[in-house]
Symmetry: C2
Subunit: 284 residues, 2 copies
C-alpha cells in the first residue's frame, strides 16, 4: 500500500491531506505576489496582477483567470478589514503524487493570506544596515517563483551580521538586487538615481518602477547600470525599495557608514514624493 508519514504518524497516501500533495511543496512549482493597501486602498494592484500573469505564463501554468484572482484579492481584503493590509498570494501548478512532470488535467492551487502591515518609522528615519551576500539564486529571477531558498539563506546570514537586508552580488562581482528588495544608489553631484537594468537576473519590481517615477518628479535622472559593492559604498546615498515598506534608507553597507549615517536628503525627498504618489493613487 502507498504509505505516507507526517512527522511520526504513518497513514495511507489516500488519507494524506491535499495540501501535502501540492507541487508548491515538492518543487516550488508556483509563482506569487505581495500587494499592500494604504488607508484601505490597494496600491498598484493591476501592476502586480500583470506581473503575476507574466510569471504564470513564463512557467507555463495555464487556465488562470487574472480577473478572478483580482476578485479574490478584493474579497479577502474586505474580509480582513485592515486599513494597512499585506496581501500575499500564490498559485501552484496543482496537486498530485510527486513527479517532475505534471499530469495533464492538473488544476492550479490558489492560496492567499491577509495580515496587518505595521510601518517602521524608525527604520525610515535612521536607515538600516545591509550586507552583501553571493547571489545563489536561479537564472530566471525575473519570474517571481516559490524557489526562494537562496533568498532565505542570504537573509539568515544578514541577520547573523546584525543587518536587515542582504544585497546580492553575482559571480561577475556586481550587485543584482536585495534578497527581498530592489536596490538603489544616489549620486548627489550628478543628481542621479542608479539601479540595475532589468533582465533575467532581477525581479521587475513594481516599487522600482514607482521609485523611478518619483525620482524624476524630485528632479533626479535615472541611470540603469550595475554597481560593484565598492562603487555602491562610495555613493552619497543608498536605499532599498519593496512593496511592504516602500523606500527605506540604507545607513550602513557592509559595515561602511553611508552619507550622514541616517536617511539622506535625496532619499527623504524621494520618500516624500512616494507619499504623494500614494495619495494620488488613493484618490484616483
Amino acid at each position: 500500500m502507498d504509505i505516507a508519514m507526517i512527522n511520526d504518524q504513518i497513514l495511507p497516501v489516500a488519507d494524506l491531506p491535499g495540501a501535502y500533495l501540492d507541487r508548491g511543496l515538492y518543487f516550488g512549482d508556483g509563482v506569487y505576489e505581495v500587494v499592500r493597501s494604504y488607508d484601505g486602498r490597494l496600491f498598484a494592484l493591476d501592476e502586480h496582477l500583470a506581473r503575476f500573469d507574466r510569471s504564470l505564463r513564463e512557467i507555463q501554468i495555464a487556465g488562470v483567470d487574472i480577473e478572478s484572482v483580482k476578485q479574490k484579492v478584493l474579497s479577502a481584503v474586505d474580509a480582513g478589514g485592515y486599513a494597512n493590509a499585506k496581501i500575499y498570494f500564490h498559485i501552484t501548478r496543482g496537486s498530485g503524487m510527486r513527479d517532475h512532470l505534471p499530469a495533464r488535467d492538473m488544476a492550479p492551487n490558489f492560496l492567499l493570506t491577509v495580515s496587518e502591515l505595521h510601518d517602521d518609522p524608525d527604520a525610515k528615519q535612521t536607515g538600516i544596515a545591509v550586507v552583501t551576500h553571493p547571489d545563489w539564486r536561479w537564472k530566471r529571477c525575473d519570474i517571481k517563483s516559490l524557489n526562494l531558498l537562496a533568498n532565505v539563506l542570504a537573509r539568515i546570514e544578514a541577520q547573523k551580521k546584525g543587518a536587515d537586508e542582504a544585497i546580492l552580488v553575482g559571480d561577475d562581482g556586481v550587485i543584482t538586487e536585495g534578497a527581498m528588495s530592489a536596490f538603489f544608489a544616489i549620486d548627489g553631484k550628478e543628481k542621479t538615481v542608479i539601479t540595475r537594468p532589468l533582465g533575467h537576473e532581477i525581479l521587475p519590481s513594481i516599487t522600482r518602477s514607482m521609485v523611478m517615477q518619483v525620482a524624476r518628479n524630485a528632479g533626479l535622472s535615472v541611470v540603469e547600470k550595475a554597481l560593484t559593492p565598492t562603487q555602491a559604498a562610495q555613493c552619497d546615498e543608498l536605499f532599498i525599495a519593496v512593496t511592504t515598506k516602500d523606500i527605506v534608507p540604507v545607513a550602513e553597507f557592509d559595515g561602511i557608514k553611508i552619507g550622514n549615517g541616517q536617511c539622506g536628503e535625496w532619499t527623504a525627498r524621494l520618500m516624500a514624493e512616494f507619499r504623494t504618489l500614494i495619495k494620488k493613487a488613493s484618490h484616483s
Copy 2:
C-alpha cells in the same frame, strides 16, 4: 482579522491547516532524498542519509536526529510492504506565517511517501532520448533542496520534444547533469567513463559514485571532466544514472543517434555489474 483563502474558501488564518504554513511551500526551504529497495532490501540507505545530513547542515536546519530519520524510513517501508519500493522524504525548516527569517523556536517538518517502483525494461534495452536545456538552477546544486522549478521546466520542455530527460547545460557551454539524473559518456577506444567532477554545480549523486565503482569493476577507467553537448554527442555511448532507475542508456542526444542507437556494449556491461553490486549489497 488575519484571513486566508484556499481556492475560493475564505477562513481565518487561525483555522488554516498546518500544511499551509510550511516553509517548504513558501520558500522551498527544505531538503529531500529518494531511496529505493530491491527485493525488500533498502539500497545505499546510509549513503543517502549521510547526504541528507549534509544538505540539512548546508541550509542550517539544526536539531534533526539522522538515526531517527532512518528508523522512520524503515518503519514506513515495512508498512508499505513493497519488494521494490520508492521512498521519498523531506525535512523543511518548519511552519509559521510567511517570513524569510524563520522564528527561533521553529520545529522542522518531516514528510515521507512510499510507493511501488516499477522497472522499465524497455528503456533499459532500447535506450531513451534526451535533449539539452539551459541550466537555470541555483548555484548550490550540491544541496538536494526543494527548489526544483528549473528541473521541472526543463523536464516539461524535454517532454514536449519527445525526450525522457533534459541534459542541463551551463552558461559556460558545458553539461552539468540531467534534470533528474547524473550524466555519463563512454569512450570505447580509451576505455573510459566520463562524468563531470563534483562541485557546487551538480548533486553528489549516490548512483554516480556506484557507477564509478562498477565502471572500474568492468575494466573502464573514470575520467572526471565536463563535456560540451557536441563532445557528448560524439562519444561512443551515453547513459544516465539515478536511484529509481539506476543505469539507463541514452540512444538519442538532441536528435543525434548515439552508437548503435540502442543500449551500447559497455553500458550493458555496467548494467550487469550494477546488478551484481545490488545482489552483493542485499547479501551483506
